[in-house]
């Protein structure tokens, strides 16, 4: 028998803690102190470390000291390489964002505030491993020394574009650098990364896969299929969730982030999960190394939630001042990854403000030089691959339809 409700039903639609004009409010975040989270043995059963899905691994403290059990104890040279790659990534982003404003291309996406993630992870894994990225892991290519001019040629879809003008700017692809072709459809790379890792295991090889997804895209079915497959077949893959708080204009609560942490999604699948300060180069490094060892020793996949903040607009087509407080990024309680690693190196006596300034100038100059080279070939519309190539690579060999249609275009 139907009982009357004590109150009428009401629908909850989650809302963020601040909108334009509001003061940023991060009081709801529960942040562990640096060094406070224990480091479980790599062989720990997922069930026995499920609390880690609700904690936050941090290594760098407010004074720039590396503290606690997750300190990866990196040598100064590795730290400097990481810092320089992050600086270069930011300089590249600034330049290409400006190139879009100058009408040199149609689109761009920055990774401001998230540089530590792809740079650290790109340095840890090898080019023999495969990264299945989203559109905000340009730091992986840059950390591995992929030619900036080739990235720009892709962004300009010019005659030297390695992928022949086929894709929207920033959808890079490089097998040689362990960087899988980026899809604009969200989440599709997740089960592919798991399958690639399964293939390595089927063949008895020693290569592993790493992939990234945004907090928003964890709602896609591909995410859940991927976690099921990763757990069932114990695939050697690192499954990153980059929680940068915003999916274009939707805050992470629209993807279910208020009910639980994104890392905790792993628990239901029986996968180990780590939740990590994504703006802390050392914490990202240490967690990735933990997951890497687990994968390489046949113990399967790890889910890592990288807790960060999307400092820039989603893309050049987006204006965040219309949906979030203007100074939220400045007020982000976990700071900026470049500033924090710089502070750490200075605290170690391995770096200085002068060296930082010199590194920034050098990065700008490096980007400028690549820009000159790429723009000499041409920006969008000034130069492009031959029209004939439009009909290539649909199949391994052209069928009669493509031959006829190519002739119809007259090429």
């Amino acid at each position: 028998m139907k009982k009357p409700n004590t109150q009428p039903l009401s629908l909850r639609v989650p809302e963020p803690s601040g909108r334009p004009g509001d003061a940023p409010d991060f009081s709801h975040l529960k942040l562990d102190a640096p060094g406070a989270v224990e480091r479980p043995a790599v062989s720990t059963a997922p069930f026995d470390m499920r609390d880690h899905a609700f904690r936050l691994v941090r290594v760098l403290d407010d004074e720039g000291q590396a503290v606690g059990p997750w300190n990866p104890k990196l040598d100064a040279e590795t730290l400097r390489r990481g810092l320089k790659a992050m600086i270069l990534t930011r300089a590249f982003d600034d330049r290409m964002h400006r190139a879009h404003r100058q009408g040199k291309t149609s689109f761009y996406m920055k990774c401001t505030g998230e540089e530590a993630i792809a740079v650290a992870q790109g340095m840890i894994l090898s080019r023999e491993d495969m990264g299945f990225p989203t559109y905000r892991q340009q730091g992986l290519l840059i950390a591995r020394g992929y030619p900036l001019v080739d990235m720009m040629n892709q962004i300009y879809s010019n005659a030297a574009d390695p992928i022949k003008g086929r894709q929207l700017p920033i959808m890079y692809s490089s097998k040689e650098y362990g960087f899988f072709t980026i899809s604009g459809n969200l989440g599709t790379q997740y089960p592919q990364a798991v399958g690639w890792a399964m293939a390595s295991a089927v063949r008895g090889d020693d290569r592993i896969a790493i992939t990234w997804i945004g907090d928003g895209s964890t709602a896609e079915s591909d995410f859940h299929s991927a976690l099921t497959f990763a757990a069932v077949y114990r695939a050697p893959v690192i499954l990153n969730i980059v929680n940068n708080q915003w999916a274009i204009s939707s805050f992470m609560g629209i993807a279910g982030g208020l009910e639980t942490t994104f890392a905790s999604k792993a628990i239901g699948y029986g996968l180990p999960a780590l939740r990590v300060d994504g703006n802390d180069f050392l914490a990202v490094w240490a967690a990735t190394q933990w997951a890497e060892e687990r994968a390489r020793t046949n113990q399967g996949a790890t889910v890592i939630e990288l807790f960060t903040y999307r400092g820039a607009p989603h893309s050049t087509s987006d204006d965040p001042s219309r949906y979030r407080p203007g100074d939220e990024h400045e007020k982000w309680p976990l700071g900026d990854p470049i500033a924090r690693l710089k502070q750490h190196l200075i605290a170690l006596g391995e770096w200085s403000d002068e060296q930082q300034k010199a590194a920034e100038d050098e990065a700008v100059e490096q980007v400028r030089a690549a820009g000159r080279e790429s723009e000499a070939i041409g920006t969008l519309g000034q130069s492009r691959p031959s029209v004939k190539t439009m009909f290539e690579d649909v199949y391994a060999t052209e069928d009669w339809r493509l031959v006829e249609q190519r002739r119809e275009v007259g090429v």
Partner: protein, 376 residues
């Protein structure tokens, strides 16, 4: 998958249940030395033989899908592959078509040649994004940097009292996609040769298996007893590996009066329809829709001057529309009568009205007679 029980029962009523008694049990090609080079096989055995031979030859080939491992698939196409080739070469997958195809794409880009099973074509839609946006596009978007040598097998089509979720013919949803190949065999010999070619192909292939033909060449006369494959020449299948190239049609019956274009179950229905009408039809089994053997179509229509297209899928935007346009573009001045289409209706596939929906030989015969009447 509770529907399976229902399905199996209606299946039996129609004589489609796996019946291995009428043909000699297929033996693995890997130990084929002492066995005859050719054996009678039904479609299931021929497909199984293709996988078995290919897996024996090439360690990068693997097979997985829902119930497709230990048990060997609900239609038994992957029977014994796990026992012969090992757990990591043939295994069960979670009930996630997105995951099956997504993982297979990853494997293919690694350098394997996965051949996955989607249990029914009606279940393929959750994987559509992975097939259309990923498998089909990866070669192009990476300028050949990454490739996807993937085969997606899936039983399709009606005539088995499967209702709307076990009877559909979704081939035109895939022929429309640049970067995909679409292959549909109509007999055991082609099934084995075409599946082998699909696995060896360096691009993604959607391979639809007409499940009404698994155990016999069903011609649409559903009141008559089911005839077994063993009486057919096209059921005499080499036990070793062989390839039937993609993009080559097979002329099933030569004729002078009218060209019939068909694939899958409709090949046999068309032969029966022509016989019923008493028309000297040339029946062409397209075998692969993409790539399409346009030369064979053109040559035949220019000879006969008439064309009837038969498919199970609904009429609107079916592959018949594409074929009709192609024939019109290329053979217009040879045509003696309007091109006709005999297809499923523009409704979901109904359970109670199986034979009203299914384009049977009588409808084909009517279309052939009307086409013969029409013209100059």
């Amino acid at each position: 998958m509770s529907e399976q029980h229902t399905f199996t029962k209606s299946d039996r009523r129609d004589g489609v249940e796996p019946d291995m008694a009428d043909v000699a049990r297929h033996e693995p090609a890997s130990t084929a030395d002492a066995r005859p080079a050719v054996q009678p096989m039904n479609m299931i055995q021929a497909l199984n033989s293709a996988l078995d031979a290919k897996m024996a030859e090439d360690p990068t080939v693997l097979s997985f899908g829902e119930d497709a491992g230990y048990f060997g698939g609900v239609f038994r196409v992957t029977d014994q592959l796990q026992q012969k080739h090992g757990l990591t070469r043939s295994f069960d997958a979670p009930i996630s078509e997105t995951g099956i195809v997504g993982a297979a794409i990853g494997m293919a880009t690694y350098g394997l040649r996965p051949c996955v099973e989607i249990q029914f074509a009606d279940y393929i839609y959750p994987a559509y994004d992975q097939i259309v946006s990923e498998a089909a596009k990866i070669r192009y978007r990476s300028a050949g940097g990454f490739t996807v040598p993937l085969t997606i097998r899936s039983p399709y089509g009606g005539g088995i009292f499967g209702g709307q979720t076990h009877s559909q013919s979704p081939e035109s949803l895939f022929t429309h996609i640049a970067g995909l190949k679409v292959v549909i065999p109509s007999n055991p010999y082609d099934a084995k040769g075409l599946l082998t070619a699909s696995i060896e192909d360096d691009d993604p292939v959607v391979f639809f298996e007409p499940k009404r033909l698994y155990n016999g060449p069903f011609d649409g006369w559903h009141e008559k007893p089911v005839s077994p494959w063993k009486a057919q020449a096209l059921a005499q299948v080499p036990t070793g590996k062989y390839v039937e190239p993609l993009g080559k049609a097979r002329v099933m019956k030569e004729g002078a009066d009218v060209t019939v274009l068909a694939w899958g179950t409709m090949v046999w229905v068309s032969l029966a329809g022509a016989e019923h009408a008493g028309v000297d039809a040339e029946v062409i089994d397209l075998r692969s829709l993409v790539p399409l053997d346009i030369e064979a179509i053109e040559a035949s229509v220019k000879k006969t001057g008439r064309c009837v297209i038969v498919h199970e899928a609904p009429k609107t935007s079916g592959y018949g529309a594409e074929l009709s346009a192609l024939v019109q573009e290329r053979c217009f001045y040879h045509l003696e009568a309007p091109i006709a289409r005999v297809t499923g209706w523009d409704t979901p596939y109904p359970h109670a009205f199986e034979w009203e929906y299914f384009p049977g030989p009588e409808r084909v015969a009517e279309a052939l007679k009307a086409t013969m009447k029409g013209g100059r």
